[in-house]
Amino acid sequence: MLETWVVIVTSFAYLGLLFAIAYYADARADAGRSLIASPYIYSLSLAVYATAWTFYGSVGRAAENGVGFLPIYIGPTLMIALWWVVMRKIVRISKQNRITSLADFIASRYGKSALLGGVVTVIAVIGILPYISVQLKAVSASFTTVLQYPELLSAPRHGDVPLVRDTAFWVALILAAFTILFGTRHLDAAEHHEGMVAAIAFESVVKLVAFLAVGAWVSWGLYNGFGDIFARAAADPALRPMLAPLGGAGGDYSSWIWLTILSMLAIMFLPRQFQVTVVENKDEKHLSKAIWLFPLYMLAINVFVLPIAFGGLLHFPRGADADAYVLTLPMSQKQELLALVVFIGGLSAATGMVIVETIALSTMVCNDLVMPVLLRLPGLRLNERRDLTRLLLAIRRGAIVLVLLLGYLYFRLAGEAYALVAIGLISFAAVAQFAPAALGGIFWKGGTRRGALAGLCAGFAVWFYTLLLPAFARSEWLPIGFLQHGPWGIELLKPQALFGVAGLDPTTHAMVWSMLANVGAFVAVSLTWAPGAAEHRQASLFVDVFKRPALPAGASLWRGTAAAPELYDLLSRFVGAPAAEEAFEDYARLRGLELPIARLPADADLVHFVETQLAGVIGAASARIMVASVVKEEAPSLQEVRAMLDEASQIIVYSHRLEQKSQELERATRELRAANERLTEIDRMKDEFVSTVSHELRTPLTSIRAFSEILHDHPGLPEPERARFLGIITKETERLTRLINQILDLSRLESGRVEWRESLVDLREVIRDTLAANSQLFKERDARLEAKLPERVPKVRADLDRIVQVIVNLLSNAAKFVEPGRGRVEVTLVTEDGFVRVDVRDNGPGVAPRDRRVIFDKFRQGGDPLTGKPQGSGLGLHISRHIVEHFGGRIWVSSGASDGADGGACFSFTLPVASGRALERAA
């Protein structure tokens, strides 16, 4: 079943099927019913990342060092987590500016620089050649291997084979023809290749199915599951170390980390990944689903790598080509159908990569390298040619053939000495050089054209010296002494141990040095020389793409004069008359303008529209040149651009300020409302106070009036009766006077109109004097009064008379409440951390816990108001609290039953001990 003609017919049938799919998808796209507008197709198209390197090379790498193939897929998985932030931005920018390739992207960012675009293109083409050679090598090797069935020989060295008999050469030519048919059948202004994407998605399915099929067969057909394979490997002393290979055969951790970083950058900046991820993206929303679908694909295609690798190592003698295990394992067991499926899987992996990569590169070569040069050559008079679409297509086709032939050349020159993965890594390191300019460009406005140029050139030079030249030296195209002893015998310049840094694997070594040179030059040069006006504008458009969606990209920053028909002519020369007409009609319809074209206002908007349309076909840099040729343009000066950008940022600042102001206003409103509530509450309290006071005043007044009337109306009352009534009147009058005094006192206290006469007070003396003066009060009620005073207490700073007032108030309260004859009142004075405390303890009925707080409020008294009121105004304690708190103390009541005596209340107040300075001042 593996006869030559079967293999060849199957291969061409497969390519034909791809072509049919592409044709169908293109037809659907033209009919407006796109086949690829789905996140699943999009994710599958991203899987063009998995090439022949993955299909054949991963197993080879795994057979060499266990886990060394994994960073190539884990790195992208990590990177994709950041795509939400990074890639979404790149896609948005590219859609707004109609960017069609990586070179276009970088050139646009740095002021549409044609030079920069050219440099990026050259680096990309040279850098990708090794990668393309991997695909050629894999396809031709697998072809040769299959053809030799049932023999299991590795492919012969190609250096010995003449060109016409070299499979790889024919593979390169066939792939070139196929790609030309595929990618350059017609010119699309947006560079969308719907047919290609559909075919790539299909290829991703084919290679995954083929790899899973051979993996499952090896695991459960050839062996008895994973456990069996690994158990046998563990039993083999040569293979046992590979089961925990890190730090040993699997390379050290630093090379692991660098490989991961390398792949993280490769997934973004390989030209073909940029093509499928950014250029072919139909809808930004597809990106989000791809964030988990694409890593899932990579996980799936890697599950069987290790079982196949160990299966191959166990099955074949040492020295067999591990890159071919995927194919040779089924062949060794006469599984012809499976071998054919594997061959087709490998073919699809390789063709997918080659098609997308060469299309992406040809776009770059055409738009950013050839066209800018041709347009500038005055002798060609290209500016005056009517139809340039044929020329564009011819350049692209030529570029495709050129790239593939160069890939083949690299394969002949340097491809033999390395395994697939090692060759591929050289390309990864090359495209990683784009990262500083591209990533720096979308997050850092300070990056400049000169900086990007310097960084790219420096990084590329180091890459060329440390990776590419050694690859040639290894293949004996350069003297090997160059590698071993450095150029001209200078050891410090040894390409793989630059400046004496040895012990790293070649890729890590090259990455460290090239990234150092690249980032260093990019940053240093950017910061040294100021950017021009165009760069300034583009930097702002790129970095702030999410902040200013309303700003029509670049349009408002343009001044000049043009004529609409000239612009139309220009566009039609590059995209053809029908397409140009359609574009202008769309333009007019969207803006509500009227045709014919001659009547369209040729303003900045229209010029910008034509330029972006052109950019889609010939790249931003060339489009700039072409538009400039028909438009009399006054380039805005750097100052003007700055002023316009500043204006925009001014507006942003204003809006921020406005937002702040409105927040402040809200806060002020809240505060006002709170203040209003407080005022209402105080007003209510005042009313309550007035009504309570009048009530309190009326009680004694009523009794005075009643008794006065009795005396008045009954002049004949007996003398004792008369005396008793007069006594009551006197007492009530006294009560009234006291009440009025207290009210006046309170109002002074509350309004702050009290004059405090502060001095240093010795509470011991105060208490002793007060007790002596009030002893009569207790004698009247036959109560015992005791004082427990320490020898010395610190002085406090207070108003002597007011403190006396407080103590008298507490004492008279105590005297009032104790039971006559059995009463006992005890005054104690205690010093405790910074305060002096006075306790007045009695054995009266005590204060119910629920009243303990409120009795200090105005007109509040303990006890049940229904069962009669004790004497007093209800203001004494309130005033006392005012006084104590004024001097920084506290007053409260607790249960008096601390010493086991019966009930009672204990009123306490504290006053802070006077500080040293206060003592001095008083002295």
């Binding site: 886990v67 998985t77 950041l82 994973f226 690994f230 089961l243 925990a244």
Partner: protein, 65 residues
């Protein structure tokens, strides 16, 4: 960009988690001669951690914001 891009922040956190899972100290802990259900521990770890990371990413993306 949205003022508070929850999804972006969650994904960035997953990125950091991934960096942690697949770099030096953690990998070294699994780099041992032992098997888990017949599969070498390091290999099992790689695929389990990788799969878990993808599952978390899917969760973040597919959850209704």
């Amino acid at each position: 960009m949205e003022k508070f891009d929850v999804r972006g922040q969650r994904l960035a956190a997953l990125f950091l988690l991934g960096v942690l899972l697949f770099s030096y100290p953690v990998l070294a802990a699994f780099n041992v001669q032992a098997t888990l259900a017949g599969i070498p521990v390091l290999y099992a770890y790689f695929f389990i951690a990788w799969g878990a990371l993808i599952a978390l990413m899917a969760l973040v993306i597919e959850r209704k914001a």
